[in-house]
Subunit: 797 residues, 2 copies
């Protein structure tokens, strides 16, 4: 009988679904990540995804349903973690290679310690002869020295003596094969492999991506205790170092591997192999690496942690762990964005979507340098967004719905409905609202951090070019005497066309139009606040004349927003669509999150119904506090108030299938902003997204980074009603029975490490000692208090 | 008769030395720079240095005086500017190729407009037949779009008609050949050239550096008016596009070239040739490029300018121009340091020294993002500095005296005395004080900008590792019961050994010891102010135990400082050296700046004399205000006061040959800090460094960036006694008859664009409108005033 368990600690959590292991046990440091839980052993190592490098993409051509498709994919790098092992007993024939799938496995136990960023597993094998082998394995991707990773494996014999044969493998014959439905896409991204060994027993492998030819080098040092020389064998794409380690009953032997990983994208510019060789030569011992790695994680926790008690707290800590290991302070050194699935799997092929909208608020408040670097990533791709707009006959910058290294559009043009087996045209690239998300992030980051250096330089270029895109994308409709935006897709991907109409896209998506108006208004604000010569430079660069700015002003005040039955229409004509019989579908299918696939398989289309995959109109309630939102409607000449907004919220809550992990998160936000006590229900749902794999198997293909970050942010900013800005720190907590007390640390008003504690009816703010001036805290009712550096103050709510 | 002139404008300055043209007319944008004044025309284009790319180094091996030397050199990139032209009159044989050296040249006029960053030249040729050709040329390296450069050349015929034949050349057969005394070094850095043409008439060239294999691509679009097709010819290393442009008397034709330059170091990662092709295809017309380029320069002037009237102001503006085009906001995107000669020439082979000590104060106050990126450049090379320390048997980080991309020591081991023709061992790498300069820059940047995000992360690692190096580099001497630092070289490179002693280095250089003590004290301060988990992480990472910290404290209080005759000794035993007969040497040699070479050629050595090449001990007076300096001495248990310090200053002023451009600058600082009215004399001397080429020909090999930046900073911070810090803006101007009024703009207290105006007996501070709080201004006598955002206040001094 085999018993197995896995868990993460801090403090322990024990979900029951084994297949989550692969994704949730990924380890990373913001520069690279490595997957997999066990000390692997397999003849066919290509089944074991290896190491993903942040920002490393390769452009390949695939043929999908007869169509030629070019796409940039996140690259699955050579696997450095592989070990193969078997028992060579003195009295008896050699045992077979032992694997976690072996029938000799008696017990396995995998644990991820999120506090220290360490993965451990323990395996117990016992064969028919009663010969036992216990395998203990510890692995990390170093959070202090971002080029290093290491693992240590111990073997202990029970009931026999002889030797353990261990093969330490470095395998470059990897492909992207982690997502089953991508199997028809070209998965080979590495070429020109070279391998070899150094005199000191270091094995190395170099290769490059096909396009743009990024050079990659891995150097692995394997040491054993007792020390033994290796039998070395190199193939074209990998190396094997074989050790025979003498073992006796109840005695242990050890194999430790240290990896240095360098690429031609690194700074300083150097030959990657030389650099990796130097790194691995300088790397300290495994225990020393472990100690510095754990200390680095401690620092991240101190800087970033949210203290929430109980089960929710445990899940939030897992979320924070995944966020920080995907987007750590090391990320700020790189040219990388926010891949929707982190560096945890190949789903969405590593592409960058709008998910940073849910990630940046947290990072701006805790790791502002990382937030800024993610915005600079967008700024570096402004030329690509400008070129995309020009190709589409537009002005300004049209950010792509999905992008990768080049910043070009990478959205698939066809997608497969696994339910019907049909390939369908994919119009999701018409989600032009992604540009507004980028502009929003720029503005909010600058407000929250006070970083006008960024806002006035790169930030202004991005924001103004997105504003300009919107001013050029509208058409004036003389009938309502308003501007309209036609042929787009909103955040709700269920609606990509009007029923019975061939042309893709819907008109006047309320979310798209309102955020476009917001971006135009902020563009004008920003031009007003820029220093004169910078304003002149940008106007010259963009050839922005007074006439065009007058148009911005006009469009920002006269964009059309559709309404029906006294609620905001998700888009023009939404109210005319048929109502879905939700109960009937739930009864028939159970899980109707992917209602689009269900209806398509039935020969119907979701475009016919008032049914949303995820929050669309209600996203407005995520982005804006009610008063901000009402002011935005008012600027457009529409009346919006609590009553209408509540009605709108209720309307769409009843018509959403939650086909995205972001959906319940956004609904939680909207309700928190309405100070609704039911906010917590959605928050709890959002917390389960990955740990319970509610999207049915998608977590195994990579975690949902936006949803993970969003849950932390929902507690910190949403439930707390917190806003950091030039006027200080505004707080207005929602009283939640389920979350009576919590605490967190953030950056505000130029102070780092400001601590906020929320208790029933009370709230404390502590400002760390520094030469800075006091922090202004603004409480409900616009009560203002100054908290001096080095002071903690308690407030009654 | 030929008349020729050159000048720079804003407003006009007309030096008389033609050979300065090459260096001072370099154009750059912080990413790359291109040299040369004229629309070149030469058969041997390798004599024309082309384009330098920031941070692009190549490692080559040379043999010097029988020794094998490895060195990283700044790479001279392919020349994109080349034009060749000649007249093809209808009636008469073709004219010869016209060059600025041609005897047909009648007039030439080269002007650099520093306000707009544009170089223009006008040439007039007239041959024996009376046929005239006027050539007008305008060139820029674009400050707004950092991958672009462009030039436009017009030709106008006088007295003949026919055609002008123009060859537009892209030449990759360049070598590093800009410094005559480096001719024995390997100058070829480019390999694997490929060339070609695109259908739209774009010529391209790709190549890579030998090591580390940086890939480089240039795409050049040439357009002519009237439009004519090109005859295209490609060689292995270059392309030529030949145009025949029909011309009539008093009619003009035009040839414009636009360059896009990309490398594999760029972000986003892309194939450089594809990226360059895209860039050049998207580039607007020459007039549009000119307009946006000029607008970008206007912004830099607004953000950075110092308004000083008269001659000094004109030179300061030239200095600022050179500083900003070497280290512009675009630099912050790159992995580059402060090359001592900018990107203006090949002297010092592009290496990075300690010169940033003179550059960072200015950048911190005007372009803080650029300052931070230069410090991050040092931080990325911390592993190399640690490795260097380990190889030298030391702990901590030992930053190299000269470095390049890899961060390794690049100082030559032999140097040539051109006067004696002898190759001599070069011990300048023993200038360990460069590490203290890096640490000092980290600390001062953080104080000036309030950027604790940087200080606590990368900054702390650098500062603590340098402190640790010093704590490990001292030896305890029981006799004076003090710590000593032996075997170093101070800033004064004349003294690299004791006379008659074989071992290199001198002991207890006062500057080295005092700055080491300062770094140790700041290291302890910093550990005290770090957040707990970050402190714990660093202590774990560096294995810093209490015992070692106690040693830091002890060393920081008991480092030995030598004195003699009531003045600080430059190093132990300096007072025992012979006095030089300065008058006799001045009489015999005139210019004795390179006294070391003179004495060596005489069979003597400067090591025997109390003679300094440049400020050494007096550098302390540049780094520290008198009160800070006295406190530093006091912490070490030495008494220092105005009297002793003035005596020390006077002592060394009499014994310095000013063999470095930094020397008079530092002396100007020291005197300004003593509120001495004679400060201006040294400042004026420093201003002449490059414009009068006072080092005798070195400006042609590249400008002296540290000295240029230092002069601006001397006026802004030195003469103004200005210090930006957490307590606000401290100002205490020196009343100088020669500089009664000036003004500048800076960043202080989180405000950008704070304007300071100094008038006799009065001073104004204007804070721009923003949501930020007031700026505190601290005047002499510790009088404190708050200046609110949007307000200007005048103060009596």
């Amino acid at each position: 009988m085999t018993t197995s368990s896995w868990s993460w600690r801090y403090d322990r959590y024990e979900p029951d679904r084994e297949r989550l292991v692969e994704a949730l046990c990924t380890l990373g440091n913001g520069r690279f990540a490595t997957r997999g839980s066990a000390p692997e052993c397999t003849a066919d190592s290509t089944h074991y995804p290896g190491t993903y490098l942040a920002g490393c993409y390769d452009r390949r051509t695939s043929v999908v349903a007869g169509e030629r498709v070019d796409n940039e994919d996140l690259v699955n790098l050579p696997n450095w973690t592989l070990l193969r092992y078997r028992c060579l007993p003195d009295d008896g024939p050699p045992g077979g290679w032992l694997t976690p799938d072996s029938e000799d496995l008696r017990h396995s136990d995998v644990a991820l310690d999120v506090r220290s960023g360490v993965l451990t597993c323990r395996l117990l094998f016992r064969d028919g002869r009663g010969f036992g082998l216990r395998v203990g394995h510890t692995r990390m991707v170093h959070m202090g020295a971002p080029w290093l990773a290491a693992q240590c494996t111990t073997f202990r014999a029970y009931g026999w003596s002889g030797a353990v044969e261990v093969e330490s493998v470095l395998d470059g014959a990897v492909t992207n094969a982690g997502v089953e439905r991508y199997q028809h896409l070209e998965g080979r991204h590495l070429t020109e492999h070279r391998t070899g060994f150094e005199a000191d027993g270091v094995a190395w492998l170099t290769c490059r991506t096909v396009d743009p030819g990024t050079r990659i080098a891995l150097a692995v040092r394997t040491v054993t205790r007792p020390a033994r020389p290796a039998l070395e064998a190199a193939t074209r794409t990998g190396t094997v170092q074989t050790y025979r380690l003498p073992i006796a009953p109840r005695r242990s032997v050890m194999v430790a591997k240290t990896l240095a990983l360098r690429t031609s994208m690194d700074r300083p510019a150097a030959d990657p192999l030389t650099a990796a060789g130097d790194d691995v030569a300088r790397a300290p011992t495994f225990p020393q690496l472990l100690a510095t790695h754990e200390a680095a994680w401690q620092r991240l926790w101190e800087q970033g942690e949210l203290h929430v008690p109980g089960e929710a707290g445990r899940i939030l800590r897992l979320h924070l762990f995944h966020l920080l290991q995907t987007l750590s302070p090391h990320t700020a050194e790189l040219d990388v964005g926010v891949p929707a699935r982190g560096l945890h799997g190949e789903a969405y092929r590593g592409h960058v979507f709008w998910d940073e909208l849910f990630v940046l608020p947290y990072l701006s408040l805790h790791f502002p340098e990382v937030a800024q670097s993610l915005l600079r990533y967008r700024h570096r791709r402004l030329p690509a967004a400008r070129a995309a707009a020009r190709r589409a006959g537009r002005i300004g910058a049209m950010y792509p719905w999905q992008s990768a290294s080049s910043g070009q559009e990478e959205t698939q043009e066809l997608h497969l409905n696994p339910r019907s087996g049909r390939w369908l045209p994919d119009h999701s690239r018409l989600q032009r609202h992604v540009g507004s998300a980028v502009a929003y992030n720029v503005w909010r980051y600058a407000r929250s951090t006070g970083d006008r250096g960024f806002l006035h330089s790169a930030g202004a270029e991005v924001l103004l070019e997105v504003a300009r895109y919107w001013a050029g994308a509208v058409t004036f409709d003389p009938a309502p005497r308003r501007y309209r935006i036609r042929g787009v897709v909103g955040p709700d991907e269920y609606h990509d066309a009007y029923p019975g109409v061939t042309a893709p896209g819907i008109d006047d998506n309320a979310y798209t139009n309102l955020t476009a108006a917001w971006v135009l208004a902020r563009g004008l604000d920003l031009l007003g606040e820029l220093p004169a010569a910078r304003r002149a430079e940008l106007r010259e660069q963009l050839l922005l004349d007074d006439e065009e700015l007058a148009r911005w002003e006009d469009v920002s005040r006269r964009l059309y927003v559709p309404f029906h039955r006294d609620v905001v229409s998700q888009f023009e004509g939404y109210g005319d669509l048929a109502e879905l019989d939700w109960e009937a579908y739930r009864a028939r299918y159970g899980d109707i999150r992917r209602l689009d696939r269900i209806l398509e398989a039935e020969g119907d289309t979701v475009n016919r119904y008032q049914a949303s995959k995820q929050a669309d109109t209600l996203m407005l309630g995520y982005l804006f506090r009610p008063q901000e939102l009402y002011a935005l409607f008012a600027r457009l000449g529409y009346r919006m108030d609590d009553e209408t907004w509540r009605a709108t919220v209720a309307y769409y809550l009843r018509r959403t299938s939650h086909g995205s992990t972001l959906s319940s998160l956004v609904h939680g936000w909207v309700l928190a902003r309405q100070k609704g006590a039911d906010a917590w229900r959605y928050c709890e749902e959002a917390l389960l997204g990955d740990v319970a794999d509610v999207q049915g198997g998608t977590t195994g293909e990579g975690i949902h980074l936006g949803a993970m970050a969003g849950t932390i942010d929902l507690v910190e900013r949403g439930i707390t009603g917190l806003e950091a800005g030039p006027e200080g720190l505004r707080v207005e907590p929602v009283a939640l029975r389920e979350l009576p007390r919590f605490a967190f640390t953030l950056c505000a008003g130029g102070h780092r490490g400001v601590r906020v504690r929320v208790l029933p009816g009370r709230l404390a703010v502590r400002v760390p000692a520094s030469p800075q001036g006091a922090l202004t805290v603004v409480l409900p009712g616009d009560r203002r208090f100054a908290v001096a550096a080095g002071e903690e103050r308690w407030f009654r709510l």
